[in-house]
Amino acid sequence: VRSERASADTLVRSPSPPEGVPASAPRRVPISRESEPSEDEWARFDVAFPARLRARVRLALVYLRERPSLAVGLLLLAGFVVLALASTLRFGPSLSSLPVNPAWSTSYVSPGPSPQHPFGIMRGLGVDVFSALVRATPWDLALLGGILLLSVGAGMLLGAFAGLVAGPSDIAVTAAADLVVGVPPFFLVMVLFLGVQPLVSARDGLLVFGLLFAFVLWPYYARPVRARAQEVAHEPYVEAARAAGAPRRRLLIRHVIPNSAFPVLAQLPVDVFNVFFVLTVFPFIACFGGGSGRFFQLLSPLPGPTFPEWGNLLANGACYGWSVLPQLNAWWTYVFPGATVALFGFAVALTCDGLLSRRVRERGP
C-alpha cells in the first residue's frame, strides 16, 4: 500500500510525463494547490491490479475535474470526431457532393425547421441544412486538422530550433516568419491560391489550399515558440544536458520543444477563426457577386458549389437566406452552419485554454 501511494504521489506531481523525460526537466504544467487529492480521494485508490493504470485513469479524471473547460472541450471534440466517422460510414462515396433537390434550389422560400428537416432547408443550394452539415463534418475536420497540424508542427520545430540555435539560422527563420506575418493571412492565401489555382485540377484544389494555408500560418506558431525557446535554452536543466554532452537534436526534441510549445495553444483558436474566415469569404463573394457555377469554380478551392463544407454552407446561407425583411429572413440557413463553426471553435478554444494551466495562461499569447 505504501509503495502504491508513493507512486500515485509522483503521478500527481507530474500528471502526464512523457516517457523518458528526465526528472531534471520539469514539465511546465504545474497544478494548483486545490488539485492535490484529498484524503478521501486517496482512500478511493484501489491497490488491485492493474493499480498503476487505474490510478492513472483516476488521476486523469481528477485532472479533468479541476479543469472543466478542458473536459467540455475534449468531449465536444470527441463528439465531432464521432460525428465525422459516422458520417463517413453512412454516406461513404457520396460524401463529396450534396444531394440537391431542384425544387428547393429554385424555390423562393426556404422551408423552416420541421421534424423531417430539423435545421430547415436552404434554397439556392437546395439542400437540407442538417444533413449537409453532417456530410461536411469529416471534410472540415480533415481540412482544419491538416492545416493546423502542418502549421503547428512546422512552426514548433522551426521556432524551437531558431530559439535554441542562435545565429544565422535564427535570423533566417525570424526574417522568413516576419515576411509572412507582415501580410494579412486572408490576402496572402488569396493571392497564392489565385496564382496556383489554374495549375491544379478542381479535385486537388482543397489539398493545395490546405498546403498553402499551412505555409501562411506556420510563422504564427514559430514566433512565440522561438521567444519561449530562447528563455528555455538557458534554463539550468538544458545547460546541464548540454554539459552532459547531449547532442543538439536531443536537446531540441527532449527539452526545448516540450517546454516551449505552450504558446501554440493560445494561437490555435485564432487560426480556427482565420481558416474559416477565408473558407467563408470565398464562396460568399462568389454567391453574392454572381452565383453561377463557373464563377464559383474560378474563385473557390472547393470542387463545386455544392461541396459539403461548413464555411461554404454558412456563406450560401447568408447569401440566400439573409434579409433585413423579417418575412424573407430564413435565419436557419445561416445560423445553424454558423453555430456549427462556432461550436467547433469553442471546442478547440476550451481544450487549449484547459491545457494551459492558469499560471501559464496568464503569460499571454
Binding site: P184, L194, F276, G338
Partner: protein, 982 residues
C-alpha cells in the same frame, strides 16, 4: 502611408484632369436616375407599362441576347400581373392583392420595401419619385419610391387604368365607369373629369399633346390635356388594351385580331390589318410594340405578327404551338430583338428582321398579363407564381457607334485631331473621320486639333449616330522669333533646328539662317520650345507663353560642350562622387573608433549606438527585404504562374520585349520573366496602375484610389478610435482582477466574438439595426453616402458629389459634408460610418482583447503596484494612472500584430455594407480577375499585372510600415524594452 504612396500618382498630369473626368461615366447610375426622373418617354428608364407613356414598348437599349438568367426574386405567393416598372434605380412590381414591392436589381432583386394596398392593381407608373398605381376597387394611390409610404390616395369611382404625363404634372385615369379623370401628380387633387361613353379598356397613352383611351365598345377617344374630347373613332371590335402612339399615329389592337392605325391629329383611320381573316376566331389582347418601321403584336392563338408601320401589311408571321390558353402580355421591341412571352412558359427573343427565334428562356410558372420590361439591358418579367425573372448578363449598357468627321472651315479634313466625349479621346484618320462608342445619354462631344479652336457639339445619344461634323476655325498664329547665338562669342549659329509644340499636336519647325535668326508661328497659350543640339553645343528647351502678340526678341545662348559640366554621364558623376563617399566613410569610421575608445576609457559599454537605435536600424533594414519579397510573390503568383498555366506567350509578360517565345525555351522565358518583373515593379512605383472596374465604371485605378481611399481612411480612423475606446478600459478592467466576474465575462464574449464567424456578427448587427436605422434616418444602412432615394427626398444629389460617390473637395465625406454645411447629409453619413465602425470594432476588439488581456494581468501584479498600494494610492488611481499607463506600449505592440486582421475585417465590412472603399475595390478586382481571368497584359496599365496586385501591395506596405511604427513606438514608450539588445 497609403496617401503618401499614392501622392506621386495623384499629381496632375498622370491622368485626365478633373474637367475631363466629370463627364466621363455616362453609364453611371446617377445619370440613369437623372434621365429617368424626367419621367418622359426616355428609353433609359422603363417607367410604366410598355416602356413609356406613349406605350410603344420600344427600348433603344438592347435587351439580353442569351437566355442567361441574372436573378429570380419570388416576392409573393400571389400572381404578379402588372408589368414591372423601373425608375433607373429600382424595379417595382405588385402582386394580385396589391402588395407593392421595390426590388433592387443591382442586388439580385432583393426587396427594398413592400407596401400592401389591398386591392388588385391595374397599371403602375413611376415619375418624379412617386409610384402611381391604380387599384380595381376604384382608387389611385401614389407611393413614395423611397420607402413605399402612401403620399396620397384618391377614389376615382371605377376600376382605373391610368397614364401619367409629367410635363403637366397630371395623372390621367380612365375608369370602368366610362370616365377619364385627371389628378394632380403631386397632391392627388382632382383637376378635371370627362366622360368617354363606355368603360375604358386599357391604360391611356399620352403623346405630349393628348391622352388616347380605348373603350370596351370599340372606340378610340382622344382627350386633350385640358380635358376636352378632341375626336372619337370606331376601331372595330371591343378592345381591352392600351393604344400605342408614335409619330402622329395611334395604333390599336382589338379582340377581333384587328390592328388599326389612326391619325392622332384628326382621328381618321389610316389602315387596318385583320388577323382574323387568316385565323378565324383569333383575338389580340395586347398592345403592339412600335418601332420606326414596324409593329409587333401577339395574338391569342400564338401568332406573332410583324406589320409595316406605314401600310399595315405583314412583314413576317411567327408562331408558337398553341396550348389552349392565351397570354395577353405585350411584346417589347429593341433594335436587335423582339421579346414576347408565350403560353409555354417561355420568353422568346426573335429577330426583328426575319422573325427567327434567337433564344428562349423559361420560367417555372406561367406569365399572364405581366409584360416584359427592359431594365438596363436586362429583361424583367413577373410570373403567376409571384416571381420576377430578370434575364440578362452582368455588364454595361449598349455602346452605340458615333461617327463623324473633323474638317477645317473650308472643308479640308483634319487628320490626327482628337475627339472626345469625356472619355479617352480618339484621333481622326487621314480623311478626318472618327468613331466613338457611347452609351445612351447626353454628351458634349469636343474636337481638338493643333492650330485650330476646339469645338464642342452637344449630343444626345439614343442609338447609333453618324455624320457628326466638326468644322474647326483656325487660330490666329503669332510669330515667335529670335536668334540663337554662341554663349562665348555671341555670334549666331546657323542651321539649328527649332521646334515649337503646342496643345493637341500643334507643331511648328524652323531652321536658323546664317545669322542665327529663326521665326515660327504659334497660337495663344503655353508652348513647348525646343532647340536641337547642333554639333558641339548642348540642346536647350523652355516653355513660351504666347498671349495675343508676337514674340520677336528671344535670344538663346547655347553653351559649347567643352564648357558645359560633364554631368551627362552618370558613371562619370559616380566617378567623382565615389572618392568623396569613400573619404566620408573613412572619416566616419575613424571618428567612430575614436568615440568608442573614449567610451571604453570612461568605463562605458563598448558600443556606439544605443540598443534602441540599433533596433530601429535593424527593423528598418528588414523593410526593403519585406517589400522585395512581397513584390516577388505578387508577380510570381499574380502574373507569372497564371500565364504559365494558360500557356500564354511568355512575351506577354514582358510587354512585347520579345516575340514568339515558347515555354520550353528556358532562356527566353527567363528573359521574359525578368523583363516583366522589372516592368511590373517600375509601373508599380511610377503610378502606372492601369484601370480598375467597379460595376459599370471602368476608370484609371489611380482615380479609384483617389476617390475611395479617403472613405476607407475615414472609416479606419473612426473604427480604430471606437475600438480603442472599447478595448482600452475593458482590457484594463478585465486584467485588473483576473478570473473575476468582469474578466470571465470579457473572456467569454471575446471568445464568442472570435469564434462566431465575423460575417455573422456583421450581418446580425445589420439585421438588428436595419429597422430602427431606416425609421430614424429615412435611409438604409448600406454604403457611406445616403442612397439616391434619400437624396431624391432631400432635394437631389448635390453638385459636390461626383460619380462613384466621391465627394469634393477633400474626398472625406464627413469633412466635405461639414464644409458644405449640409447637416442632414452629415447626420446620415455619420450614422452610417458609425454603424460600420461598430461592426468592425465588434469583431476586431474581440481579437484584440484576447491578445492583451493576460499581459495586462501581468502588469497589474507587478511589484510597483503593491508598492504603490502600500503607500496608500487609491485603487482607481492605481488602475487608470499606473497600470493604465504601463500597458500602453503593449497595446501598441498588439495593434501592430493585429493590423493585418484589422484590414481584413474592414475589407469584409466594406463589402457587406456595400460601401465603396479600398476593401470593396480589392475584393471586386479579385473576383473580376477570377471571373474574366486573363485580360492582363493587354489593357492593364501595370504591364503584365492586375490592379489587385497594386491594391494588395499598398495594403501590405501599410501593414509593414504600420507594424514597424508600432514596434518602434512600443520600444520608445517602454524604457526597459528600449535598453534591451535588438
Amino acid at each position: 502611408v497609403l496617401a503618401l504612396l499614392c501622392a506621386p500618382a495623384l499629381l496632375p498630369g498622370s491622368f485626365p484632369g478633373p474637367s475631363a473626368r466629370s463627364a466621363s461615366v455616362p453609364s453611371d447610375f446617377r445619370v440613369r436616375l437623372a434621365n429617368a426622373d424626367l419621367g418622359g418617354p426616355g428609353p433609359i428608364g422603363w417607367p410604366t407599362f410598355h416602356g413609356s407613356e406613349n406605350r410603344t414598348g420600344y427600348s433603344a437599349v438592347d435587351g439580353p441576347t442569351t437566355s442567361d438568367l441574372l436573378w429570380v426574386a419570388c416576392v409573393s405567393s400571389l400572381p404578379i400581373r402588372v408589368s414591372p416598372v423601373w425608375d433607373g434605380r429600382n424595379l417595382y412590381v405588385a402582386d394580385n392583392l396589391g402588395t407593392v414591392y421595390a426590388l433592387d436589381p443591382d442586388r439580385l432583386g432583393s426587396v427594398l420595401w413592400s407596401r400592401a394596398l389591398g386591392t388588385t392593381p391595374t397599371t403602375a407608373d413611376v415619375a418624379a419619385g412617386r409610384l402611381v398605381i391604380g387599384g380595381s376597387s376604384g382608387s389611385v394611390s401614389a407611393l413614395s419610391t423611397a420607402d413605399g409610404s402612401v403620399l396620397w390616395q384618391r377614389s376615382v369611382g371605377g376600376a382605373p387604368e391610368q397614364a401619367v404625363s409629367v410635363e403637366n404634372g397630371t395623372v390621367a385615369v380612365g375608369t370602368s365607369a366610362g370616365t377619364v379623370t385627371a389628378l394632380n401628380l403631386t397632391s392627388g387633387a382632382l383637376l378635371w373629369q370627362t366622360s368617354v361613353g363606355a368603360p375604358v379598356g386599357g391604360a391611356l397613352a399620352w403623346d405630349g399633346r393628348a391622352f388616347y383611351a380605348v373603350t370596351t365598345s370599340g372606340e378610340l377617344v382622344a382627350v386633350s390635356a385640358a380635358g376636352t374630347v378632341l375626336w372619337r373613332t370606331a376601331v372595330g371590335a371591343a378592345s381591352d388594351t392600351a393604344p400605342a402612339v408614335f409619330a402622329g399615329t395611334v395604333y390599336v389592337a382589338d379582340r377581333s385580331a384587328n390592328v388599326t392605325a389612326v391619325s392622332a391629329a384628326t382621328g381618321a383611320v389610316q389602315w387596318r390589318f385583320s388577323g382574323s381573316r387568316a385565323h378565324p376566331g383569333d383575338a389580340i389582347e395586347d398592345t403592339p410594340a412600335v418601332t420606326e418601321s414596324r409593329l409587333y403584336v401577339q395574338t391569342d392563338q400564338g401568332f406573332l405578327y410583324a406589320l409595316s408601320r406605314a401600310t399595315g401589311s405583314p412583314a413576317w408571321i411567327a408562331s408558337v404551338p398553341p396550348t389552349g390558353y392565351a397570354v395577353p402580355s405585350s411584346p417589347v421591341a429593341t433594335p436587335a430583338g423582339v421579346y414576347f412571352v408565350d403560353a409555354t412558359e417561355n420568353v422568346d427573343d426573335v429577330d426583328p428582321g426575319s422573325g427567327q427565334l434567337l433564344w428562349q428562356g423559361s420560367f417555372s410558372g406561367a406569365v399572364s398579363y405581366s409584360s416584359p420590361a427592359i431594365e438596363n439591358g436586362t429583361l424583367a418579367v413577373g410570373t403567376d407564381t409571384g416571381c420576377v425573372y430578370d434575364f440578362g448578363r452582368v455588364g454595361g449598357p449598349t455602346l452605340w457607334p458615333v461617327t463623324g468627321i473633323v474638317t477645317t472651315r473650308t472643308g479640308a479634313p483634319i487628320a490626327g485631331a482628337y475627339v472626345t466625349a469625356g472619355t479617352g479621346p480618339v484621333t481622326t484618320d487621314s480623311l478626318g473621320r472618327f468613331r466613338l462608342a457611347l452609351a445612351n445619354g447626353s454628351y458634349d462631344v469636343s474636337a481638338y486639333a493643333g492650330g485650330y479652336a476646339p469645338a464642342t457639339i452637344p449630343l444626345t445619344v439614343r442609338g447609333p449616330v453618324s455624320n457628326v461634323r466638326f468644322a474647326l476655325a483656325p487660330l490666329t498664329l503669332y510669330p515667335v522669333a529670335g536668334e540663337i547665338v554662341d554663349s562665348r562669342s555671341g555670334r549666331g549659329i546657323a542651321g539649328v533646328s527649332v521646334a515649337l509644340t503646342a496643345l493637341y499636336g500643334f507643331s511648328a519647325r524652323a531652321v536658323t539662317d546664317r545669322s542665327g535668326a529663326f521665326r515660327v508661328l504659334a497660337p495663344n497659350g503655353t508652348d513647348f520650345f525646343s532647340v536641337g543640339a547642333p554639333p558641339g553645343y548642348l540642346g536647350f528647351s523652355a516653355t513660351v507663353v504666347v498671349s495675343g502678340a508676337a514674340i520677336v526678341a528671344i535670344r538663346i545662348a547655347l553653351v559649347p560642350v567643352a564648357y558645359a559640366s560633364s554631368g551627362t554621364d552618370p558613371l562619370e558623376e559616380a566617378g567623382i562622387a565615389l572618392p568623396l563617399v569613400a573619404i566620408g566613410l573613412a572619416a566616419a569610421f575613424l571618428r567612430g573608433r575614436e568615440l568608442l575608445r573614449r567610451r571604453v576609457a570612461a568605463g562605458l559599454p563598448a558600443r556606439l549606438f544605443s540598443p534602441f537605435a540599433r533596433f530601429v536600424a535593424m527593423r528598418a533594414l528588414l523593410l526593403p527585404a519585406q517589400i522585395v519579397a512581397v513584390l516577388t510573390v505578387l508577380f510570381v503568383f499574380g502574373t507569372f504562374l497564371p500565364a504559365a498555366a494558360l500557356h500564354q506567350d511568355p512575351c506577354v509578360l514582358a510587354a512585347g520585349a520579345c516575340t514568339g517565345c515558347s515555354w520550353s525555351n528556358v532562356g527566353c522565358v527567363l528573359l521574359a520573366f525578368f523583363r516583366g518583373y522589372g516592368l511590373f515593379v517600375t509601373n508599380l512605383f511610377t503610378g502606372q496602375w492601369g484601370t480598375a472596374t467597379y460595376g459599370h465604371l471602368r476608370e484609371p485605378a489611380v482615380l479609384f484610389l483617389q476617390w475611395w481611399l479617403p472613405d476607407s481612411l475615414e472609416l479606419a480612423v473612426i473604427a480604430l478610435a471606437l475600438s480603442a475606446l472599447i478595448a482600452y478600459p475593458v482590457g484594463l478592467r478585465a486584467g485588473w482582477r483576473p478570473s473575476g466576474p468582469f474578466d470571465t465575462a470579457t473572456r467569454l464574449s471575446s471568445l464568442t466574438g472570435l469564434l462566431v464567424p465575423s460575417f455573422l456578427v456583421i450581418l446580425a448587427l445589420l439585421l438588428a439595426l436595419y429597422g430602427p436605422f431606416s425609421v430614424a434616418l429615412g435611409d438604409t444602412p448600406y454604403g457611406t453616402l445616403p442612397s439616391l432615394l434619400w437624396f431624391d427626398a432631400h432635394g437631389g444629389v448635390p453638385g459636390w458629389i461626383g460619380i462613384a460617390d466621391n465627394t469634393g473637395p477633400t474626398g472625406f465625406p464627413l469633412v466635405d459634408g461639414a464644409l458644405h454645411g449640409d447637416a442632414a447629409f452629415e447626420l446620415v453619413v455619420l450614422a452610417k460610418t458609425l454603424l460600420q465602425a461598430l461592426a468592425i470594432a465588434l469583431v476586431y476588439v474581440a481579437i484584440f482583447l484576447r491578445y492583451v488581456r493576460t499581459a495586462v494581468a501581468d502588469s497589474a501584479r507587478a511589484p510597483f503596484v503593491s508598492a504603490a498600494r502600500a503607500r496608500g494610492v487609491s485603487e482607481q488611481r492605481l488602475l487608470w494612472g499606473h497600470v493604465g499607463r504601463r500597458v500602453l506600449p503593449l497595446y501598441a505592440l498588439v495593434f501592430g500584430l493585429t493590423l493585418p486582421i484589422y484590414l481584413g475585417t474592414q475589407a469584409l465590412a466594406e463589402a457587406l455594407f456595400n460601401d465603396i472603399g479600398v476593401g470593396t475595390l480589392l475584393l471586386g478586382e479579385m473576383t473580376g480577375v477570377a471571373s474574366a481571368r486573363f485580360g492582363f497584359g493587354t489593357s492593364a496599365g501595370v504591364a503584365a499585372g492586375n490592379f489587385y496586385q497594386v491594391t494588395i501591395f499598398l495594403l501590405l506596405i501599410a501593414v509593414l510600415v504600420g507594424s514597424l511604427a508600432a514596434d518602434v513606438f512600443a520600444r520608445y514608450l517602454d524604457p526597459r524594452l528600449r535598453e534591451r539588445a535588438p
